[in-house]
């Protein structure tokens, strides 16, 4: 990695965190494009690395929300533990797909996230 890439990744990482805090969108939506387009990882590598990158942000967020008394842990842990079954299936599918197809599917997912944001911002 060149110094420029490192600097850009640091700045975009900060930006991804700021935007996720601002809009309540998970960091992954922004980590994946940063890792793929700026750091130069493969689509699968960017997605896998994004999951690792979000751990500190999510852990800190969960801890803050816990302190504020907003987390319903029973349900959260139940859904989280069951999600491991889904993770196994999703990981198997992601690793079996062609790079370009996976990237295009991710792009489609971004458009759905954008549509959901527009929907949530509609006039009350």
């Amino acid at each position: 990695m060149t110094a420029t890439t490192v600097t850009l990744a640091l700045v975009l990482g900060f930006g991804a965190g700021a935007l996720s805090g601002l809009f309540g969108v998970g960091g992954g939506v922004l980590f994946v494009p940063t890792l793929a387009l700026v750091v130069g990882l493969s689509q699968l590598g960017a997605q896998a690395t994004s999951l690792a990158a979000m751990i500190p942000v999510v852990a800190f967020g969960a801890w803050q929300q816990h302190r504020a008394g907003n987390v319903r842990w029973r349900e959260g842990i139940a859904v989280g533990v069951v999600s491991i079954i889904g993770v196994t299936g999703g990981a198997a599918l992601a690793t079996s797909l062609d790079e370009e197809l996976l990237r295009n599917l991710f792009a489609g997912f971004l458009v759905i996230v954008a549509a959901q944001l527009v929907w949530s911002a509609r006039r009350p």
Partner: protein, 122 residues
Amino acid sequence: MPTGKRTLLALGGIGIASGFLSALFGVGGGIVVVPLLVLLLGFDSRAATATSLAVILITALAGATSFALLEHVDWDAAALVGLPALVGSVAGVRLQRLVTSRELTLLFAVFLVAVAVVLVLE
């Protein structure tokens, strides 16, 4: 108990859907967890957002572990974007209390679509 059974089914369904989406796209899965906790389990939006973070923490740990076992995780790159993001998220939450506007959200949506176009063309 039909109500208890329904709750269990909802919890399981949300878990499987969000875990699948998360591992398929490298995202947290909050986009499905938050609305489904509201719709299926009657959470208010504050509790849903907060609880989704607990869910995503488990999901992301599981996802990162499975991809790490397959040697797809670049740990240096993860630290490079993940640690500044931690600082950024604190700033973002602060900023949210000062500025939240429909225009800003729409602008962000346009930005996401632009990123999608760049990814497809790349």
